[in-house]
């Protein structure tokens, strides 16, 4: 529309013809596809309202929040809240906590499903394979609250099934161990589920490749190394790019539930801090600024991982 209006100022006669042509096209499009538009419209409405309107609300990070002036009202303060965050005494601690926890979880949560998928793929019997898959997918459906309370009970010193091996101090209260507790439980819960996608890739491997490898004298390990592994490599790189987009995203629920007074120096991350500053303390603009900073860093990571993967292995998600 904007394009044709710009043209209209330059050459009125041509534009008139063009305009009717465009209108006709639009009318024709809607007379053909109005039913598809109706089917899509509820989703379009919800996405516009609940994903794009809040994006507009990001402006709040640059303004002083004023309840009487609504979502984006208030005086313009520019980068004030970003500087406040960068100079805050908690900044270093929060950033290192976020990066440490998320990198451990990303790397381990990336490696283990690949290994598990390669192992499950080695099972000959279909029934055993199905059984192992059923069992390993199961924890994925347990809620975070239940998982964290299971960790708490199991790690109770003296009586818990794991806690009795770790002395009289709970690992939950130990800032040095809490990252390990976090990523190990995360891998335990999601490893099986995340291996499905690799198993799907492995199921698509041409069986003649295995036969050829066997004829060439490959043992089981060589088959895994030279046939199975290259087969899932493209899937791996796509997933790695996707996870790079969440380098600063430590899921709010789990770390929030794992926090206690003793481990707080190691478990305060960006998402929990945004919640405490924003919802509990009511500093809306400050909290929005921190959230925006988080989104931006993630986006930069995603874009650069995508660019690197494109150059190195011709794999990309955009």
């Amino acid at each position: 529309m904007a394009h044709s209006q710009a043209r209209a100022i330059q050459a009125p006669t041509a534009a008139n013809r063009r305009k009717t042509g465009l209108l006709n096209k639009i009318a024709d499009h809607f007379s053909r596809y109005w039913q598809l538009w109706i089917l899509a419209s509820p989703a379009l409405f919800f996405i516009a309202l609940f994903a794009y309107v809040p994006m507009w609300g990001i402006l709040l990070a640059f303004r002083e929040f004023n309840p009487s002036q609504g979502l984006t009202g208030g005086a313009w303060v520019g980068m004030k809240y970003f500087t406040q965050f960068f100079h805050s005494p908690l900044f270093g601690e929060i950033m290192t906590n976020t990066i440490r926890i998320s990198l451990w979880t990303l790397v381990m949560g990336f490696i283990f499903p690949i290994i598990l998928a390669l192992l499950i793929n080695q099972i000959g019997s279909k029934k055993v394979k199905g059984f192992v898959q059923t069992i390993t997918y199961m924890p994925h459906f347990i809620s975070v609250v239940v998982i964290v309370s299971m960790i708490n009970i199991f790690l109770t010193p003296g009586t818990g099934i794991l806690g009795r091996f770790f002395g009289s101090e709970s690992l939950m209260g130990n800032p040095d161990q809490i990252t390990n507790v976090y990523w190990i439980s995360e891998v335990w819960q999601h490893c099986g589920w995340n291996s499905i996608i690799y198993l799907a890739a492995l199921a698509g491997v041409d069986t003649s490749l295995y036969e050829a490898a066997k004829i060439d004298g490959a043992g089981r390990l060589s088959i895994i190394r030279y046939v199975d592994f290259p087969a899932i490599l493209p899937t791996c790189s796509i997933l790695l790019i996707m996870t790079m987009g969440s380098v600063l995203n430590v899921g709010f629920d789990k770390i929030f539930l794992m926090q206690n007074a003793l481990n707080l120096p190691a478990t305060e991350v960006i998402s929990t801090y945004t919640y405490k500053i924003g919802i509990l303390n009511g500093q809306y603009s400050y909290s929005t600024a921190i959230g925006l900073f988080n989104t931006l860093v993630n986006f930069v990571f995603l874009i650069s991982a995508n660019a690197i993967a494109k150059r190195v292995s011709d794999q990309s998600i955009f």
């Binding site: 609300g57 009970i153 924003g278 909290s287």
Partner: protein, 343 residues
């Protein structure tokens, strides 16, 4: 060798006859198929093999096999045992559980823990709330997601590229917590059941999964046939596509339902009224807030009885999903695989 000879001598074999007919066919593609270069790939399990001959295994292969099997057994035990322990601990005597004598089978069975769980009114209210939010929420999710995914799967619908791009952007960029909170506040859905249902009505990921399913699993010929019979898009969608899509409906319905059932954050942040809290928030209050940090050995003694109630709560709250799970399990591979198709 024997196998080959056998198939060659059976002259009545219809496949062979067809192949021979193709050899003299004028169509070049048919001729290529006959000499095998265009033959469809057959699965490994379809190829006949001599069951009496075992492929010889070297010592190295055998070791690798044993190591792989041992690791897999350990993985299964490591996954299953914590869950099994929660089950047996929930109706064993709490003193035996704390003393570590309950390992594989329950000991001194007692139902006191469950009696206390079922007598707790807060759990029941949380349960009813969660069932309401989950059922209604999943219904809205499906009603919004599936039609949209269908519209976006039609290749002749040109605006779909732009729409999909706008959808995908929201997977990576969002307003963040506070803009959402203020939006819900100005819409007046904070502290009502609608905050569980409306904001998450569309999951872009599920739209992409369903769209890939419609594109790849519903043959395009059906659309041609429907058009010839004079069906509109509505008719085609409701009378032909939906009845053929039960697999994807099951998978996406399950994804949404599990998401609602396990949703903790929404209740924590946007609900202030205790009577509207979903099960997960009630669980958090009962399981985690009440227990303190649990870092002291002396406190452990008082905790034993409390722990048993906790095991009971865990079972009661997780059971519905784990009962549902085996019935839907066969669809999972399909659902996740479709999600892997580039959006």
């Amino acid at each position: 060798m024997a196998l080959f000879a056998k198939t060659r001598t059976t002259h009545e074999d219809p496949v062979m006859l067809a192949a021979r007919r193709r050899q003299h066919s004028a169509d070049p593609i048919e001729r290529l198929m006959a000499n095998g270069s265009l033959k469809p790939k057959s699965l490994g399990e379809n190829i006949p093999f001599n069951k009496k001959v075992r492929p010889s295994m070297t010592a190295g292969d055998r070791t690798v096999s044993i190591i792989i099997n041992v690791i897999l057994v350990l993985v299964v035990i490591a996954t299953l045992y914590p869950l099994w322990f929660v089950v047996i601990a929930s109706f064993s005597n709490p003193t035996s559980v704390a003393a570590g004598t309950v390992t594989v089978l329950p000991k001194n069975v007692t139902w006191v823990g469950y009696a206390k769980v079922f007598a707790n009114a807060r759990i029941w209210r949380g349960y009813m709330n969660t069932i309401l939010y989950s059922v209604l929420g999943t219904a809205v999710n499906m009603a919004v997601t599936i039609p949209c995914a269908f519209a976006l799967s039609r290749r002749e619908f040109k605006p779909r590229r732009v729409i999909l791009f706008l959808f995908t952007v929201t997977m990576f960029i969002g307003g963040g917590l506070i803009p959402n909170y203020l939006l819900y506040k100005s819409l007046g859905i904070n502290n009502t059941m609608w905050v569980f249902i409306l904001p998450g009505a569309v999951s872009v990921y599920n739209v992409i999964v369903a769209r890939s399913f419609f594109e790849t699993s519903i043959p395009e010929e059906l659309h041609d046939a429907a058009q010839i019979d004079g069906l509109s898009y509505f008719g085609y969608f409701f009378r032909i596509v939906l009845p053929l899509s039960s697999a994807i409906l099951a998978v996406i319905g399950l994804y949404y339902f599990v998401g609602h059932w396990n949703d903790f954050m929404t209740g924590l942040i946007f609900i202030t009224d205790d009577t509207k809290q979903p099960l997960q928030v009630v669980l958090q209050q009962l399981l985690l807030v009440a227990q303190g940090t649990g870092t002291n050995v002396d406190a452990a003694a008082q905790q034993q009885a409390a722990d048993q109630i906790k095991f009971g709560i865990i079972i009661v709250s997780t059971a519905p999903l784990l009962i549902l799970y085996p019935f839907l399990q066969k669809y999972f591979n399909k659902g996740v695989m479709l999600g892997a198709v580039k959006g």
